[in-house]
């Protein structure tokens, strides 16, 4: 099916999220929609899927103008969406999830589960998905859950499939498998819109690439374009994707983590017997697919986890039994993974957020009162130093872009004298310009002799920043390897293989 978008314009108040966007996706084509976060990709797809109504422009399927009042209309017209966050019910079986929303019934309104099972088996066999219709979705690995989403869309005769950032939650291996699936779907005549901001995947699988920036189509490219060309189209200037940094000059081990385990509120062991150390002036990157205990490990160091066993020692002082306040006072700086939930108070001004973790003493508080004049000077200086783009220090942080919000967090944490810096997903959701800024600051912190832990699920970021890489899988550390380790090996480690076993496999193969 041929999909055509003509002059789609979508405004939110005074903001134009999509500005006369034209897009043609031919039958049996994988069309990549490339753009930074906030460029307007998701808005465009939500317009296509009937979730938003465009102010202007039209959607055509096989040259017929469509009017979608909601996702139901879009689905009936043959558009399927594979959401970034799966829209599946974990306690339902695969077949139940697939039939959800267009349940077939037999006499008396009983559900025709058998038909749904048949459908799952049939589609699964056609594309070699290996999905058991009776498995509970909650028990399935993330990659398989994504296939269930695909089956669900196909079961509704979707002939245009939209993949919204499908690889964000996948391991490199699962990503490769998804690429295979996308090629199969294409071969079967399905048109695919592939939304992403990862250049490598685009070049691997796409037939054509449309680049969107600030709500407009800024260009088309072929998959043969180089990374640098694509990146400069995305951000409107040439960028360096690698971080320029000198070789580390690590000192003595500053942070020593020994046999650390964390039990979460549900009684699950989320970090299992983890031991490592970080030397002064070194970046240890903790890699792994989201949800393998990295978050909890970082939180445990900060004193945010309730049930922690083992030992965390910074410069000879145990952090394990300290409160968050005590850990911060010991000189730990922290960029939380979810800056909007944990890092900032959206209703507070930039200035107020800058004093958030020093709200009860010097330098911002004297005899119980806030030193507002001092805070204003401090905030104004940090605004300049960290290049925070805002009207002023009284701007509410909730009104800032993600990049500027992260700079506020960074400014706050790096303004203290640090003995350890923990950055969890420091560039998640940021544009390329802000990513570069954050990376530079992290490297500068390292070069000042501070031990740094960077938790990241982005392999590019891990490889760019790390001096050593620890890979986590299911709460444990699979191995700690040098930064120049081959990406394939890192990928296998993220799927749970130890470096030794990988070496053995390689030896056996050779």
């Amino acid at each position: 099916m041929k999909l055509e978008l003509r002059g789609i314009t979508k405004r939110f108040g005074s903001l134009v999220a999509n500005d006369h966007i034209d897009l043609v996706v031919n039958p049996g084509e994988i069309h990549a929609l490339l753009g930074e976060n906030g460029a307007g990709k998701s808005t465009l797809m939500n317009v296509l899927y009937g979730l938003y109504q465009a102010e202007d422009g039209e959607i055509l399927l096989d040259d017929e103008v469509q009017h979608f009042a909601g996702p139901g209309d879009a689905m009936n017209a043959g558009i399927g969406m594979v959401h970034q966050h799966f829209m599946l019910i974990p306690v339902f079986s695969v077949a139940e999830n697939v039939m959800l929303g267009h349940e077939q019934t037999r006499f008396g309104g009983t559900l025709d589960l058998a038909a749904a099972r048949r459908q799952v088996r049939e589609i699964s066999a056609r594309f070699g998905f290996h999905v058991d219709p009776d498995a509970l979705v909650g028990d399935l690995p993330v990659g398989v859950q994504q296939r269930v989403e695909i089956i669900k869309a196909l079961s509704r005769d979707a002939r245009v499939l939209v993949f919204d950032e499908p690889t964000a939650v996948l391991t490199p291996q699962e990503t490769d498998e998804l690429m295979v699936i996308m090629r199969q779907l294409k071969a079967a005549g399905t048109s695919i819109v592939f939304i992403t901001h990862k250049l490598r995947e685009v070049r691997e699988v796409a037939d054509r690439i449309t680049v969107i920036r600030l709500g407009r189509v800024v260009g088309e490219a072929s998959p043969t374009a180089t990374n640098t060309e694509l990146a400069s189209l995305m951000v409107g200037r040439a960028v360096e994707l690698t971080v320029t940094k000198d070789a580390a000059t690590p000192g003595a081990p500053a942070l020593v983590v020994d046999k650390l385990s964390v039990i979460d509120v549900d009684g699950q062991i989320v970090v299992n017997n983890v031991s490592f150390d970080v030397k002064a002036g070194e970046i240890l990157a903790i890699a792994g697919v989201q949800g393998n205990g990295q978050t909890e490990l970082a939180e445990a160091i900060l004193g945010l986890q309730a049930k922690v066993t083992g030992e965390i020692v910074l410069d000879g002082v145990s952090l394990r039994d300290k409160s968050v306040r005590g850990v911060l006072n010991a000189g730990v700086g922290y960029i939380p993974e979810d800056r909007q939930q944990d890092g900032l108070i959206a209703e507070f001004t930039i200035a107020e957020n800058l004093m958030l973790d020093r709200a009860d003493g010097a330098p911002f508080v004297a005899r119980g009162s806030l030193r507002l004049a001092y805070l204003a000077d401090f905030a104004a200086a940090k605004l300049r130093e960290f290049d925070i783009r805002a009207q002023g220090i009284a701007t509410h942080v909730g009104r800032l872009s993600g990049g500027n919000q992260q700079k506020v967090v960074l400014a706050r944490e790096l303004s203290r004298t640090l003995r350890l810096f923990v950055a969890a997903q420091p560039t998640r959701g940021l544009d390329v310009g802000s990513i570069e800024f954050v990376h530079t600051r992290i490297v500068e912190t390292r070069d000042a002799g501070v031990p740094v832990i960077v938790v990241s699920t982005e392999l590019d970021e891990v490889v760019a920043l790390a001096d050593r890489i620890a890979v986590m899988y299911r709460g444990g550390i699979v191995g700690i390897v040098p930064a120049d380790t081959d990406r394939d090996i890192l990928g296998l480690m993220m799927a749970g293989d130890t470096p030794d076993s990988i070496a053995k496999q390689k030896g056996a193969a050779a």
């Binding site: 906030g38 307007g40 394990r320 890092g343 310009g433």
Partner: protein, 435 residues
């Protein structure tokens, strides 16, 4: 090995169980939503309520009913009757609450205004306490219980301790603040230690306070000696708030205390370290915790101060309003009206002050309205209730007046696309970065 013995003892839990955190954050979100509206919304809610009140006055007025019987014959009669009913009622309300134009001189003409201040004193004090709890993200609806606890403590000191005038007044007042603080502090403590839902606990403590005070009024703790009525003896003269503007007016120094309390709360919230932390846990407890703020300890502090402010209302009730001995109805529904006052004032100290004055005016003017125009005083209650209704539903008010929704960009469903909802700054930033 010491490491192993140590590792057997997990770090003591500093968080309430997660499910409750979820629940209360829902509540907090709702409260924030209500508070987040502008002062304009508050004013509009009052306007709508007055319009609804006017409709009720018109339809219940006998003159209007009589004239409407021949509406199609002479519609002007009906309209005139409606006008005179509504204008008469609201004029009477105004004369009863602000200035009596029929009075002989200015000093007696101004008496209604001082009555308004008298009636608003307890409302403002309790409203400030409730507002503080809202600001820290707790829904304290235990005003009634805290007022009763405060009244019992202040009253007991006020009629048993024989001390000279200013000393006894201060002692009784402090006892009242203490009583309110403890009653609310229990809630903060339970919330911090066990994650108990403060809404349920405060409601239950209202009942506990009511029946406890009722019981104490029947035994010689609070009961007047030699009496069988469940009522206390009168306050000793030394405990009674002296009149503020001389013996001709009812308003007492209690109003001064309330002004002081408003200034104090303004300073606390906007200028103090403690208040900064209160606002932080109220707006985003997770970020506050991550920033090293001890959320649970602050819940206790916050509820103690909140209760003390409500306790000021309780003390004012027994030392300033009903000094001749009180019964278990001493709270006069102020504990609940205070919630409305706090909401109407958007939980800002001076907003609460203004809202308290408005409600005091309704109360003072309501009786004049009833006496002069024969309009049932219940109309005032309806007006107050309609205000609550519209405050609790900001979108409704916006719809009626076609106001834009604040931050009217609909939130995209997925977190990843969140920057798309607020990219104005981002665009600026990117263009800047591109240079």
């Amino acid at each position: 090995m010491t490491a192993t013995t140590k590792s057997d003892a997990p770090r003591p839990s500093t968080t309430p169980p997660a499910p409750d955190e979820e629940q209360s954050s829902q509540f907090q979100k709702y409260v924030r939503d209500i508070m987040g509206g502008s002062a304009v919304l508050s004013v509009l809610a009052v306007v709508i309520a007055l319009v609804v009140g006017a409709v009720l006055i018109a339809v219940t007025d006998p003159g209007v009913q009589a004239a409407s019987a021949y509406f199609f014959g002479r519609p002007s009669d009906t309209l005139t009757a409606i006008w005179s009913a509504i204008s008469g009622a609201y004029a009477a309300l105004f004369q009863g609450a602000v200035y009596n134009f029929g009075a002989a001189d200015f000093l007696s003409g101004i008496k209604p205004l001082t009555d308004t201040l008298t009636d608003s004193t307890s409302l403002i004090a309790a409203g400030l306490g409730i507002a503080l709890s809202f600001r820290i993200g707790l829904f304290n609806i235990g005003g009634q219980g805290q007022i009763l606890a405060a009244a019992a403590c202040a009253g007991w000191v006020g009629f048993t301790v024989h001390a000279p005038f200013p000393l006894l007044l201060i002692l009784a007042l402090l006892a009242g603040l203490f009583g309110g603080a403890i009653w609310a502090g229990i809630v903060g403590f339970l919330k911090a230690q066990t994650g108990a839902n403060e809404v349920i606990v405060t409601i239950m403590l209202n009942f506990v306070a009511f029946y406890l005070v009722s019981y104490l009024l029947k035994v010689p703790v609070l009961q007047a000696p030699g009496s069988t009525n469940p009522q206390t003896p009168p306050m000793l003269p030394g405990a009674i708030f002296p009149p503020l503007l001389g013996p001709n007016y009812l308003v007492t120094v209690g109003f001064l205390f309330v002004v002081g309390a408003t200034v104090f709360l303004w300073w606390l919230l906007n200028r103090s370290s403690l208040g900064f932390q209160f606002r932080a846990i109220g707006d985003n407890p997770r970020a506050a915790r991550t920033a090293g703020i001890n959320v649970n300890r602050l819940y206790v502090y916050g509820m103690l101060i909140s209760g003390a402010l409500v306790g000021l209302a309780g003390a004012n009730q027994v030392q300033g309003v009903i000094t001749t001995g009180f019964s278990s109805g001493i709270d006069s529904g102020i504990g609940f009206s205070a919630i409305t006052v706090a909401l109407l004032g958007r939980s800002k100290p001076w907003g609460v002050f203004g809202a308290g004055i408005l409600f005091g005016a309704f109360q003072a003017g309501g009786y004049t309205m009833q006496a002069a125009q024969n309009v049932p005083v219940d109309i005032v209650l309806v007006v107050q209730s309609v205000i609550v209704l519209f405050l609790a539903a900001p979108p409704l008010v916006r719809k009626i007046f076609h106001l834009p929704t604040p931050g009217s960009t609909p939130k995209p469903k997925q977190k990843k696309s969140a920057p798309e909802s607020a990219p104005k700054a981002e665009i600026v930033q990117k263009e800047g970065a591109a240079q």
